[in-house]
């Protein structure tokens, strides 16, 4: 496996060369929130816009043809990258929209005819999630339960930050219609046992929904990229902006057979088969789920981001991130008063390291780090219930990526020590 030449990679990311707050070199450790974009992605968007821009799937002119090809080629590329067929990949604005799409489609199924019955929910049915979910994979399910009368249940989290599977047989039962969970926690870094959960869900006939926002961009250590087909999940979502791509584009993966049977969420232009004043029928997937004008340049940019990731190799990326994670866990672990929230080894764990500092509020830690040029996220990271589980209001979260040097984590440690000194703890 070729290691990543970080110095060379960094040259592709203009933003990493800038300084912040009094000429401090930028140490960007917030890729879990949004990643930076390489020139290759910007160039792809620019080239598309300058040379091929047109509406897709309509128009008989040459630009329309080229735009459609660019849009669909990017789809095929992204699909192959995650072990899917092109018609299993739906473009959306972000992963949140993807979960909502499934939840609303299921809500629509609950009030429509027998053809969509497998997606229908009602009183007595259950949706199972976990306590470590991002709000995006929690709130839409709460809402769906409210609309349909179904019941929400959830897996707890152990003190170490692993999923507590001890009551899996009581939680996932014949009543379970959906099992929705994150591949990798955006706070703890924990990589969840997808196979165990998928097997259990399929035993009881439940649909699985995987939040892959924090796994697709990074790969999973010891494997190459994330392969939805191999994982056996029914649905999955991820966001472009967390994987070197543009904002405004995300992906919903759904097994062909399911997307073909699922009712639409947003309706209108581009997603129809036939429209009469009295009613309409719908296009086959993925078009059925892409109503209205889509984010074409962004989709093309995401395709270029996939090319970039493939060029470096997901195995090499995962290995590089494992080294960064090990350095973070070790360095933070050595600072008295710092508590890591989540697994303390790199075993089944990705490059997300959250922590607290005794006596210094995460916001204040973040402010001191910012004065050192270090960009981290502070707060509950859209996983408020998980923080409640650990009895803390917030954490500081460092999320390195393929373009971070090992030396950069030292600046983080220096900043944390400075925060302790500044607040005299």
């Amino acid at each position: 496996m070729t290691a990543i030449d970080v110095a060379r990679v960094r040259k592709d990311f203009p933003i990493l060369a800038r300084t912040v707050r009094d000429e401090k070199p930028l140490v960007y450790l917030d890729s879990g929130a949004t990643s930076q974009r390489p020139n290759q992605v910007l160039e792809a968007e620019r080239e598309y816009t300058e040379q091929h821009n047109a509406a897709v799937h309509r128009g008989a002119h040459q630009l329309a043809e080229e735009a459609t090809d660019a849009y669909e080629d990017a789809r095929a590329n992204i699909a192959a990258f995650v072990g899917a067929k092109p018609d299993e990949v739906v473009y959306l604005k972000n992963a949140t929209e993807g979960i909502n799409l499934i939840a609303y489609a299921m809500g629509n199924a609950s009030t429509s005819g027998p053809e969509a019955e497998r997606f229908a929910l009602g009183p007595g049915d259950e949706i199972v999630v976990t306590e470590m979910e991002h709000h995006a994979n929690l709130v839409p399910w709460q809402q769906l339960c409210q609309r349909t009368g179904a019941t929400l249940r959830w897996f707890g989290v152990t003190g170490e930050g692993r999923l507590d599977l001890s009551n899996i047989d009581e939680l996932v039962t014949e009543r379970t219609k959906v099992l929705a969970f994150t591949h990798q926690s955006n706070v703890l870094g924990t990589v969840n046992p997808v196979q165990t959960l998928v097997r259990k869900a399929h035993e009881v006939g439940a649909l699985t929904v995987l939040d892959a926002c924090q796994s697709v961009p990074h790969g999973v250590h010891g494997q190459s990229g994330v392969d939805f087909g191999a994982l056996g999940v029914d649905f999955a979502v991820f966001s472009g902006h967390k994987m070197l791509g543009p904002s405004g584009v995300g992906v919903l993966y759904g097994r062909s057979e399911l997307l073909q049977a699922m009712p639409p969420f947003l309706t209108g232009g581009s997603m129809i088969e036939m429209v009469r004043m009295a009613g309409s029928t719908f296009a086959p997937p993925p078009q059925r789920f892409e109503a209205g004008s889509m984010m074409i340049a962004q989709a093309v940019g995401l395709g270029a981001a996939v090319d970039y990731l493939k060029l470096l190799g997901m195995g090499a990326i995962a290995e590089h991130e494992r080294e960064l994670t090990a350095a973070l866990l070790r360095g933070l672990g050595e600072i008295p008063g710092v508590t890591i929230v989540g697994p303390e080894t790199t075993e089944q764990r990705g490059a997300v390291v959250s922590f607290t500092v005794d006596g210094v509020h995460p916001h204040d830690v973040g402010q001191v780090l910012d004065s050192y040029g270090v960009a981290v996220r502070v707060g509950h990271h859209c996983a408020w219930p998980l923080h409640q589980r650990f009895g803390i209001p917030a954490t500081v979260r460092a999320t390195p990526y393929l373009y971070n040097e090992l030396s950069e984590v030292d600046t983080l440690f220096e900043g944390v020590r400075a925060a302790q000194e500044f607040f005299k703890v």
Partner: protein, 149 residues
């Protein structure tokens, strides 16, 4: 150094040694406020004596800026007419939303002028205002002021 412009000594003092902290009885209005981006929260109570703010008591968790701001708030409003307290609040809100371009009036804001540096950091403005939002809401609950005002 930039940090010192945000974390003035006055702010750190109030953070380490908060004034009027703790929830007290009796009270006429109570408000619970959260900052949904960071999870900080405060419960704040107001006791009135006619037009006067007789006491403000509070409990909660938050960063140095939010905790110091509410401590300063108690200094500024306890023992003063509710109407005047809200005028002070207006001056403070104006300062905080001024992106560092508003010159604070020390006669009105007293220790709160120390927050002028915080106004340059838009992400922290909400922290400084959390306690004040709770104060205004508690006054509304106590029927001391009109909710529209």
């Amino acid at each position: 150094m930039q940090l010192d412009s945000m974390y003035q000594e006055i702010i750190l003092d109030h953070y380490k040694h908060p004034h009027a902290r703790g929830l007290r009885e009796p009270f006429d209005g109570e408000s619970f406020q959260v900052n949904p981006t960071c999870g900080d929260e405060i419960t704040l109570r107001v006791r009135l004596d006619g037009e006067q703010v007789a006491d403000v008591s509070y409990d909660g968790q938050g960063c140095s800026i939010s905790q110091a701001a509410v401590s300063v708030l108690t200094d500024l409003v306890i023992g003063r007419p509710a109407k005047d307290a809200l005028a002070t609040m207006d001056a403070f809100v104006e300062l905080m939303q001024g992106r560092g371009k508003v010159e604070p009036d020390e006669d009105v804001l007293e220790d709160a002028i120390a927050f002028a540096g915080v106004a340059k950091y838009p992400a922290r403005v909400k922290c400084a205002l959390l306690g004040w939002m709770a104060f205004k809401d508690a006054l509304v609950k106590a029927n001391a002021v009109d909710a529209e005002k």
